[in-house]
């Protein structure tokens, strides 16, 4: 496909920052506006930028994971963080915070809600990946495995 030089260079500059912004939003979601969903969306938007620049091959190069795997890990992660407190004697989806002392770096606060947020972010990125693959594969061959053409009875 014909690639635009300007788009290529801009995406090269912007992609990593956008992805990092998504990660930042994910981690800061507990104390500021942000969270798993927005973080996943921004990261997915960065991937979509790669798609616009170079097509679906570019996206595959950026993130060589299968969308299903991402979705599955994300969902299992999120529901796992929901059920572990239940099995440990607390309520469903109850979250705990704590501190880790890292010597000269001070204390790092953590919260188990982060696990849930990571799960959600994975799901969103996986979904964006699946969207790009579903809409972005080259026509007219309907040979991708999700679009099998069967004759109706």
């Amino acid at each position: 496909m014909r690639r635009s030089l300007i788009l290529d260079v801009v995406v090269r500059v912007v992609f990593h920052s956008a992805f990092l912004l998504g990660l930042f939003l994910l981690f800061t979601g507990h104390n500021r506006p942000g969270g798993g969903f927005v973080g996943g969306l921004v990261a997915g938007a960065a991937l979509a930028l790669r798609y616009v620049a170079g097509g679906i091959d570019e996206v595959r190069e950026a993130l060589p994971v299968r969308a299903w795997t991402l979705l599955g890990i994300g969902l299992a992660c999120a529901t796992g963080s929901a059920i572990v407190p239940l099995l440990a004697g607390r309520e469903l989806l109850e979250h705990f915070k704590g501190e880790v002392h890292l010597g000269p770096m001070g204390a790092a606060h953590y919260n188990t809600a982060l696990v849930f947020d990571i799960g959600v972010a994975f799901v969103v990125v996986g979904m964006t990946l699946m969207l790009l693959v579903a809409f972005g594969e080259r026509l007219p061959s309907l040979g991708n495995s999700w679009a099998r053409q069967e004759t109706g009875r």
């Binding site: 299968r66 299903w68 795997t69 979705l71 599955g72 890990i73 994300g74 969902l75 299992a76 992660c77 999120a78 529901t79 796992g80 929901a82 059920i83 239940l86 099995l87 607390r90 309520e91 469903l92 989806l93 109850e94 979250h95 495995s145 999700w146 679009a147 099998r148 053409q149 069967e150 004759t151 109706g152 009875r153």
Partner: protein, 496 residues
């Protein structure tokens, strides 16, 4: 108990996640799915026994107590629905595993099916109206995917209708939630019940009507049922069986729950509901008589039977609601069975159009029996469970002195029998006439592959079991109805 409550929701979701991660390995998917449903069935039965003994119990998500937090509540009604829904989901999964078709071709079948099951479980268990919206959306989105799985032209077309109508219903649900929150300041169902008296009567009746419309679209009452016969028949058979058996019944569950819990006794719109029920019954059965495809006839019958359940609700007496609950339990099992038999006919004879096939019972007697028993039950012939359910509805109607609608229900019953005999005569009796024949050994001998026969046979046995255990089951339904009409115990369990 606190551990048991969220299991019907969380276990299918985790299983869905694992299924997705192992999307290429069908055996892992199958094992995980079947295990999830076995665990869910066990948890539901344990919940049922506990709730019957000790009354409603609640668990609070995240440790935040109601009304701020989301509560999961199990009372007799929801426990019963879970106990009935989980084995049906398992049976349909087993059927799908045996049927050459969707499950074997699409890696996304298992995860989406498990998410659907999680959505159904959450709708039955939640005590918060917005969480009910989320559960509905989980269930509906999974159903959008399942109904178009395969991407054929007719599926895409009927899928479009289904999706759009359900999206409109969801938007209406959000409007209802916004208006409820604006007037009452809460979306927790028990808290709504407590605060309802603070708004004027017109507003309360408006809420009752809006709730009826929102859940009526899902439950397919007149005049909101037109999407059902258009979209259900084109889905793959196991999908149609789950939709017919469960999704509409989730709508009926929500109707019964909201009309008894949130609507105050003085504002109940019983008369209106009875009229709607009567018209639904008639329109459904007349539509069924006009069709000549087995799956379409059964889809119209879904609508007609919903009328009976709404009739029981509209009476607003313990007898009426107990009859409605018993009817729902019956229909979940019977409708799924009949549609699975329709799938077996499709597999054995190659088509479900009555004009093209014939004599299936002569060629495969097992299929004949598997249709005959549930069909007689559906038509209300004694001594089957359908007869007990219909009798309880009629008795409740007579004791509430609603002669007109009881007469309508009896006429519709006769017409249902006529329609069932039309299927029997057209597809099962007469000269053997098959469009295409299956080619594996079990199918040639018995009419279907082993998992398909096992699943359908299991459900037929379950419906017979319902007939045998009708006494205790109806007693339980009466206790559940008494709980529904006097929700003090429910409110206490949530708002302690």
């Amino acid at each position: 108990m606190r551990v048991l409550l969220p299991l019907p929701v969380v276990v299918p979701l985790i299983a869905a996640g694992i299924s997705m991660a192992f999307a290429r390995q069908r055996n892992v998917q199958r094992a995980v799915g079947a295990l999830a449903f076995v665990i869910t069935t066990g948890a539901s039965i344990a919940m049922l026994v506990d709730v019957d003994r000790h009354g409603p119990s609640a668990a609070f998500m995240g440790g935040w107590s109601a009304p701020v937090g989301i509560s999961l509540v199990a009372d007799r009604f929801s426990a019963l629905m879970l106990v009935v829904a989980s084995p049906v989901l398992l049976a349909v999964l087993v059927f799908a595993m045996g049927q050459p078709g969707t499950e074997q071709e699409q890696p996304s079948f298992h995860p989406v099916y498990l998410v659907l099951a999680a959505g159904v479980g959450l709708s039955f268990l939640t005590g918060d109206l917005f969480n009910l919206f989320v559960a509905f959306e989980m269930m509906l989105t999974a159903s959008y995917i399942l109904i178009t799985l395969g991407g054929r032209r007719d599926q895409v077309q009927s899928g479009m209708t289904y999706v759009i109508i359900n999206l409109v219903a969801s938007t209406l649900f959000v409007v209802l939630l916004a208006l409820l929150y604006a007037s009452l300041g809460t979306v927790n169902m028990a808290d709504l019940a407590v605060r309802m008296h603070t708004v004027p009567e017109g507003v309360r009746v408006a809420f009752a009507l809006l709730m009826f419309v929102v859940f009526g679209i899902k439950a397919a009452v007149f005049p909101l049922f037109f999407w059902l016969p258009d979209s259900y028949p084109t889905a793959p058979t196991p999908i149609t069986a789950v939709f017919a058996g469960l999704l509409t019944k989730v709508g009926v569950y929500c109707l019964i729950r909201t009309q008894t819990l949130i609507v105050l006794p003085g504002d109940r719109i019983g008369g209106f509901i009875l009229v709607i029920a009567g018209i639904t019954m008639v329109v459904g059965v007349l539509g069924a008589i006009a069709q000549d495809d087995v799956k379409r006839i059964l889809s119209f019958h879904i609508v007609s039977q919903i009328g009976y359940m709404v009739l029981g609700l509209g009476l607003f007496t313990v007898a009426g609601i107990a009859a409605a609950i018993l009817y729902v339990v019956n229909q979940v099992v019977l409708k799924s069975t009949l549609l699975l038999v329709g799938g077996l006919v499709d597999h054995a004879a190659g088509s479900t159009r009555l004009a093209s096939i014939g004599g299936v019972a002569r060629r495969y007697p097992l299929l004949g029996w598997m249709f005959l028993l549930p069909a007689l039950s559906l038509a209300g012939i004694p001594p089957f469970s359908g007869f007990v359910a219909k009798l309880s509805v009629v008795q409740a109607g007579l004791s509430a002195e609603e002669w007109a609608v009881v007469a309508v229900s009896l006429v519709v019953s006769v017409l249902t029998l006529f329609s069932m005999s039309k299927i029997w005569a057209g597809a099962f009796w007469g000269e053997v006439e098959l469009v295409a024949e299956p080619d594996d050994a079990t199918s040639v001998r018995f009419g279907g592959t082993l998992p398909m026969l096992l699943a359908t046979g299991g459900l037929v046995v379950a419906s017979l079991g319902l007939a045998v255990a009708a006494g205790p089951v109806f007693g339980y339904c009466q206790r559940a109805a008494a709980d529904l009409l006097d929700p003090a115990a429910y409110v206490r369990a949530v708002l302690r």
